[in-house]
Structures are given as structure tokens and as C-alpha cells.
């Protein structure tokens, strides 16, 4: 297997290099036949990288510990699913996986070349150049098929226990699909710039690819957050770790692009800005990979330190220089066709939305790199942890939430005062009422800034939710009146007719739910206690009673857990089993959290350890309000994005007679919305 893998990787590199060079020459000479050979070489490159990836997976399945990578990331008793996950659990394997995903994206692109052969040829050549970089890495800097020197051990070191969790089998692929997916819109954007692409068709193609990458990255980020919450056992889901931040950076710029691209499509504005947003997103995705793998910043998530950082630095520099060169050379094609006409317009709301997203991106990047900067300037390293990020980013996030509510209600070009009053009266009144109700209910924003932000977040969430609901309601009512159906099917129809707009609203509503989940953070409670048989712990109205604690032994790990009965208002409502495992191969321990998740709050129990003197378990209990809304919100975000990706349904043509008949029938049956206003 190692020989097949190594050979396939070399072959893939040669094919990618050919695809790039021949593709570039073909575009320069306008030689279609040479261009076709480049395209086919690119497709063959996918086959070669696939063979190499399969060779590594087969080596893991076959317990081939002569391969150093398998020795360090797998063992005989590792369950099959985790052996598969070993492909991306280490530096070399994950780079190979990255190269395979990139080849797969490139394959789809090269198969769909008939959409616009010229533009796709440019994009294909650019992707081939990126492929060459990653294949150079896996061939010469981080070779996954390196062999073990000397005697081959009988068993491997095993997979990191924290990664032995079902979500970890899908979290990295999702994240990588997002990271790697960014390359496709980058390739289209750069290709369009190089060829001075006439019109905005390329932006339609790019937008869809960007949405796909955004979808995967969002999914990956939140799967990571859920994994951290369920596995790491510290009661939180986001720790502002440099590696977490690295995934957030391209996500923020991509979100900015998905908004500002509408200005280019509709008004021919911000062409230069959009081009740079795509370039920045790609550069940040590469930069994030550099951060994770170079050891520049310390992180618990980072891969082992290696010398591949310098490769990324050169690649980043080269990519940046290429972008600057072509932007300067072809800047005439990036001039805006229109100018902004009013401060109170949809265009300016997008402008401010972009501003806030980019400032948030800068704040995260700044905080992530400040320890390095501080060490460089003062010679002393500092920690930039969650308190910094929360204090800086929460106000920015609240401002963004406000824009999320305001933006969709503003008209293109200019919004009149009357329209502002009409659109904002009810949402604003609801938001104010919510704030008052929360304060009457006991929230005291004057006591702590965290409570203030929480109050603001919930009130503004209500504002955004009201605006989103208002949009659906108005659209649904119009359709219901036209077609004679009820208002809810009207809402479904309007969504199907303009999937992008209403899918976008669903995404906004999902974000609102996520924010509501975050708003519960200041009200978290926790308590730690040693719990023997029959011992009780009181927390946030719950009474926890330890029924027993015991041990077990399995081939891959040994474990100890406690059986905790949960009472509320004197009635038993649940039994929970917090657990701690000791993984034999890696000789590492991991917690398995017991979480009772409800819409109002999570009761989250961690088996923190055992008293060495009396053997009693130490249980840490957290009560985290509103966390479930985060996961519900993310599902809605994903559904909204998928809806936005679906093509619009064409409106049905209805004759006057049909409409009159529908109205008459509806009036007879008393359907809501028909003819009424």
C-alpha cells in the first residue's frame, strides 16, 4: 500500500502540473485541443489522489504499522469508523485529504465546463496551480506514506481520545469542504479578472459555489462547537482558540461577500470590493491552515509543529502578489456602474454590514495574532483569551444583529421616512416590549455589562424575527390573494418563487435563534462536589442524587461512571450517567458528558475525577440556559442556505377568470387572506 500511495501522489503531482502549465499555454495561444488535454489531465489527477487516499485508508484498516502515519494515529482495537477518520487526524493525512477534496471540487468544475468553456478553463488552470502546491506538500514536506525506521511495532499509538467521537468523523470533512471550497470562487474570480470577463454571469456562478463553501464551513464550525460542548466537558462551546478563530475568519469575509455581491448583481456596484472579498477569503483560508500547522500560535487543536509553515508563507505571498498584479492590470473592468444615492438605502445597509463583518474579522485576527506581536515588540508573551474576544466582539455582533433587522426593510436606492415608519413601527415596538418584559422578569442590565448585552441581544433578536416574519407575511398575503390559497401556502409559494431572498430570511431567522442561545451565557451556573452513594447536590432548582458509581473494561478503553438521579420539585425527572474513559493505546483520559438538553436549559454533568483517598467520584454540574436554541438555529441556517441554492420556481400564469373563480371559492369557504388586506 505505501508504494501504491507514494506512486499515486507523484503521478497526481505530475498531472496537476501538466494541467496548470498546458492549461495556461492553451489559454494564451487559444489552443482548444491543448486545453482539452489539460482538462483531462486534471480529471486524471483526481483519480490518482483518490488512489493515494484509499491506500492510506486501507493501510489503516489493515493495521499496516510500517507506515509511520498509521503507527501514530491508529491501533488494532480502534473501531472501523475511527480508523477511517485517521485519514484526517494528523498533519500528513489531513493534507492528503485536503488535496483529495480540492481534486474533487476541481473534478466537478471540469466536468461542468460546458456552462462557460472559456471561464471554466481559466478557473481550472488556477485550481490546478493550487493543487500543485498541496501535492508538492504531501510529496515532499509532509509525506503520509513515510515508513517506520527499524523494527515495526506490534500495535499503534492509537487515535487521540478526544477525536473518538461520532461527530469527529464528520466535523473535519465539513470544515475542510468549506476551506477547500473557497478555492473554487477564488479561481472563478481571478479567472474572470484575468480574462476581463464581460457581464456579471461569472458572479452568478461564483455566488453558488461560495454558498456551497459557506454552507460546509458553517456546518463544520458548529459541528466543532457541538463537539467541544459534548466532549471537552468544560461546559462551553466556543473558547476563542486560535484554531477556532482561524475557521471564523474566512467565514466572516465569505458572509460579507454573499451580501455585497447582491449590489454587483443588481446595481453593478462594488466590483473591486467583491473581488477583494473573494481573494481575502481564499487568503484567510490558507492563512488559517498555516496557523493550524505552523506552530506560530499555541493551540490545543493545532497539529504537531513542523517545518511546513514556510511553504504556506511563500504560497500566501505568491497568491497575494498574483491577485494584486491582476487587479492593478485590469482595474478598468472593476469600475462601478452606479453610485450610492442615499444613506438610508439597501445599498448602504450592505455597505455597513460589510464594514461590521470585516471589523469583526479584523478583531478576531488581531486578538489571535496579538500574542505574537506582543512578543515581537516587548519580548514578553501575553494571553489573549475569551474575556478579550467577548468584550471586543460582542458589541460588534450586536451592531451586526441590528443591521440584520434593518437591512432587509430598506428599499434599493432610497427609503422614504414614511416607509421606514411603516416597516419599523411594529418590530421596534415588539423589541422594546421584550426589553421591558425581560427587566420586569428580573434581568438587571445595569448590574453587569454581560446582562446588558444579553438583554440587547434578545431584544434585537425579536426585532429581526419580527421583520423576517413580516416579510413572509406580506409576501404570503400577496400570493394568497393572487392564487386564492391560504396565507401559509402563499408563504411556501413565495419562498419557492424567490428561493434566494426567502432562503436568506430563513438564514437570518436561524442566526437570531443562535444569538438567543448565546444570550443565555451570562446566566450559566456550575457547581462541583464529591458524590458518594446517596449524596445530594443542589443546583438551579435541580437536586442530584448519586445512586451508584462503577467501572467497566472494553478492548479500546476502560471506564468509570456515576449513576445520578435528577429531581426537580421533589419528583424524579431523569437518570444521568457522566463517564470518564481511559484509552489504553494512547494512555490518555477523556470525559463523556451526560447532557439533559431542553429548550429552556441544559443540565450538563461531567465526571471530573475521583477522590484518591475514598474513591468517590467528583461530579461537576453545569446548568446552561438556552443552549439548545443554538443547535436549532444552526439547522435553520443550513435549511435556509439549501433553499437559497435551489433554483426559483417559475410563477404560474393565472387568467382573470381563474382568479375570479378562486376568489369566489375562497370567499365561500372563508379562506384567510383572499381579497382581504
Amino acid at each position: 500500500m505505501p508504494q501504491i500511495g507514494s506512486f499515486s501522489l507523484l503521478l497526481a503531482l505530475a498531472l496537476a502540473a501538466y494541467s496548470f502549465i498546458a492549461g495556461a499555454i492553451a489559454l494564451y495561444r487559444k489552443d482548444d485541443r491543448l486545453g482539452e488535454t489539460a482538462r483531462r489531465a486534471g480529471i486524471a489527477c483526481w483519480a490518482a489522489v483518490t488512489v493515494a487516499s484509499l491506500a492510506l485508508v486501507m493501510a489503516a484498516f489493515g493495521n499496516d504499522f510500517s507506515v509511520a502515519y498509521i503507527l501514530h494515529h491508529s491501533n488494532r482495537d480502534l473501531p472501523i469508523a475511527y480508523k477511517f477518520a485517521a485519514l484526517w487526524s494528523g498533519q500528513e493525512g489531513s493534507l492528503l485529504f485536503w488535496a483529495w477534496l480540492l481534486s474533487t471540487y476541481a473534478l466537478v468544475l471540469r466536468m461542468r465546463y460546458k456552462v462557460d468553456p472559456q471561464l471554466f478553463a481559466y478557473a481550472s488552470a488556477i485550481i490546478a496551480a493550487v493543487q500543485v502546491f498541496f501535492l508538492l506538500l504531501v510529496n515532499f514536506a509532509a509525506h503520509p506514506f513515510g515508513l517506520v525506521a527499524g523494527q515495526i511495532p506490534a500495535d499503534g499509538n492509537g487515535l487521540n481520545p478526544l477525536l473518538q467521537y461520532p461527530e469527529m468523523v464528520i466535523h473535519p470533512p465539513m470544515l475542510y469542504l468549506g476551506y477547500v471550497g473557497v478555492t473554487v470562487p477564488f479561481a472563478f474570480a481571478l479567472g474572470a479578472l484575468i480574462m476581463k470577463y464581460p457581464g456579471e454571469k461569472w458572479i452568478h456562478i461564483t455566488r453558488r459555489w461560495t454558498m456551497v463553501a459557506w454552507l460546509f464551513l458553517t456546518c463544520g464550525i458548529f459541528l466543532g462547537a457541538h463537539w467541544a460542548y459534548e466532549v471537552l466537558g468544560w461546559g462551553g462551546y466556543w473558547g476563542w482558540d486560535p484554531v477556532e478563530n482561524a475557521s471564523l475568519l474566512p467565514w466572516l469575509t465569505m458572509t460579507a461577500f454573499l451580501h455585497s455581491v447582491m449590489m454587483q448583481e443588481k446595481r453593478g456596484m462594488m466590483k473591486m470590493w467583491n473581488m477583494w472579498l473573494i481573494f481575502t477569503t481564499f487568503l484567510l483560508a490558507i492563512f488559517g491552515t498555516f496557523l493550524t500547522r505552523s506552530g506560530v500560535v499555541s493551540s490545543v487543536h493545532a497539529f504537531a509543529q513542523s517545518g511546513i509553515g514556510i511553504w504556506f508563507v511563500w504560497f500566501l505571498a505568491l497568491s497575494f502578489a498574483t491577485c494584486v498584479y491582476f487587479v492593478v492590470r485590469n482595474r478598468d473592468t472593476l469600475k462601478s456602474e452606479h453610485r450610492l444615492e442615499s444613506l438610508v438605502s439597501r445599498e448602504s445597509s450592505f455597505l455597513f454590514n460589510n464594514l461590521v463583518l470585516l471589523v469583526a474579522c479584523f478583531a478576531v485576527l488581531w486578538g489571535t495574532l496579538f500574542p505574537v506581536l506582543s512578543e515581537w515588540v516587548t519580548g514578553s508573551k501575553v494571553t489573549v483569551g475569551p474575556p478579550f474576544f467577548n468584550r471586543v466582539n460582542v458589541p460588534i455582533g450586536i451592531f451586526l444583529l441590528l443591521l440584520t433587522g434593518v437591512g432587509p426593510l430598506l428599499a434599493w436606492r432610497k427609503t422614504s421616512l414614511d416607509s421606514l415608519r411603516r416597516n419599523f413601527l411594529w418590530p421596534t415596538a415588539l423589541a422594546v416590549l421584550t426589553a421591558i418584559a425581560l427587566m420586569i422578569g428580573g434581568m438587571k442590565p445595569w448590574e453587569d455589562s454581560a446582562y446588558f448585552y444579553s438583554l440587547m441581544a434578545i431584544s434585537l433578536s425579536v426585532l429581526v424575527a419580527a421583520t423576517v416574519f413580516g416579510e413572509f407575511w406580506r409576501g404570503g398575503r400577496v400570493i394568497a390573494r393572487q392564487t386564492g390559497t391560504n396565507i401559509f401556502s402563499g408563504m411556501v409559494t413565495i419562498t419557492r418563487r424567490n428561493t434566494r431572498r426567502y432562503g436568506g430570511y430563513l438564514v437570518h431567522f436561524g442566526v437570531v435563534l443562535v444569538i438567543i442561545g448565546f444570550a443565555g451565557l451570562p446566566f450559566n451556573q456550575d457547581k462541583e462536589q464529591e458524590m458518594g452513594f446517596g449524596d445530594k447536590m443542589q443546583i438551579a432548582g435541580y437536586t442530584l442524587v448519586c445512586q451508584s458509581y462503577t467501572q467497566d473494561d472494553k478492548p479500546n478503553y476502560s471506564s468509570e461512571w456515576a449513576v445520578i438521579d435528577v429531581y426537580k420539585n421533589g419528583r424524579q425527572i431523569d437518570t444521568m450517567y457522566p463517564e470518564r474513559r481511559f484509552y489504553k493505546a494512547s494512555e490518555q483520559t477523556a470525559t463523556i458528558v451526560a447532557n439533559r438538553s431542553r429548550l429552556n436549559e441544559d443540565l450538563y454533568l461531567v465526571y471530573a475525577g475521583r477522590n484518591q483517598d475514598n474513591g468517590k467520584p467528583i461530579i461537576k454540574a453545569h446548568v446552561n440556559p438556552l443552549v439548545a436554541w443554538i443547535w436549532i438555529g444552526v439547522h435553520l441556517v443550513l435549511i435556509g442556505t439549501i433553499i437559497a441554492l435551489i433554483p426559483n420556481m417559475k410563477p404560474q400564469k393565472i387568467t382573470v377568470k381563474e382568479r375570479e373563480r378562486a376568489e369566489a371559492e375562497a370567499a365561500r369557504s372563508g379562506v384567510v387572506g383572499v381579497g382581504g388586506d
Partner: protein, 180 residues
Amino acid sequence: MRRRRQREVEWWEWEETRVRRAIVRRQITRASHLALIALLAMLFLGADTDARFNMLGHKLMCMCGCGQVLLECNHVGCAYSDRMRNELMAAMERGDSDSLVLQSFVQKYGNTVLSAPTTTGFNRVAWIMPFAVFGAALALTVWLVRMWKARAVAQPVEGPKLDAPELDGLRKKARQETEF
């Protein structure tokens, strides 16, 4: 003479009003100071040991390498967090002030024990920069919008000389632009 007397009366009246206003102002200032002291006293009296422990514990990092805030480290078998928590509790029981507690941790574990940069020296830049960039970007955006708006207004408007196909084209464009 009469005018002079009238001026004196007016001056006295003005002076009396001024003094009365000054007294009222002083009373308001005193009352607000008292209210502030009472509020601070309530806040500090209300801040019990648990809250203070929680607040200080979130200003410190666990030094085991897990990268987590001290009170959030549940790293199984962590050799640092328990010891550091005990040190924090001991410092509080000794009656050390917040800054003294934090200073003692910095002396023992180094600057990286603080979970966020301080607001002194070069560390101040960490806090200022994001908000400075936000302010500058906001000002730039507003300026840009205003400039574009001014340019848009200044452009001369020509009378419509359009035939039917051109008008259809414009209608199509208007529909497209107002689709969102």
C-alpha cells in the same frame, strides 16, 4: 438716583438667584455623590466571596497548557487548576486586593497567566486597535456614502428621449433591481 437704586435691587435679586442656584446645584451634587457611594457600597457589599472568586478566576488562565480559563479547566487529572484555585482562594482569604492577587499570579506564573491583556503599556494597543479600526472604517463609510450621494446629485439630468424598446429594457432592469 432712582435708576441706580433699581439697578442695585436688580443686582441683589440676580445675586440671590445665583446663590440659591449654586446651593441647589451643590445639594444635587452632594446627593448624587451620596447615591453613587451608596450604589458602590451596595455593589461591593453585594459582591460576596463566591462572586469575587468567580470574577478573579475568569481573569486567570489555567497553566497546564489546555488554553482554558482557570475556572473552566476541567482537564482530567490537571495538575495545575486545583492548585491554582487553592492559591486564589488563599489569597482572597488573606484579604489581598484584586490587583494584588492578580499581581502575585503574574509573578509566579508570568504574564501569560492573565486571560486578557492588561490596559497598560503596549497591551493597551490590543484593546484600542479594534475599536479604532471600527471608528475609522465607520467614518470612511459615511464619508464615502456622502461623497457618492453628492456626486449623484450633481450629475445633470437629461430629458427622456426613449423609444418603446428602450423603455421596455428599463422596465425590465427596474424589475430586476427591485426583485430583492
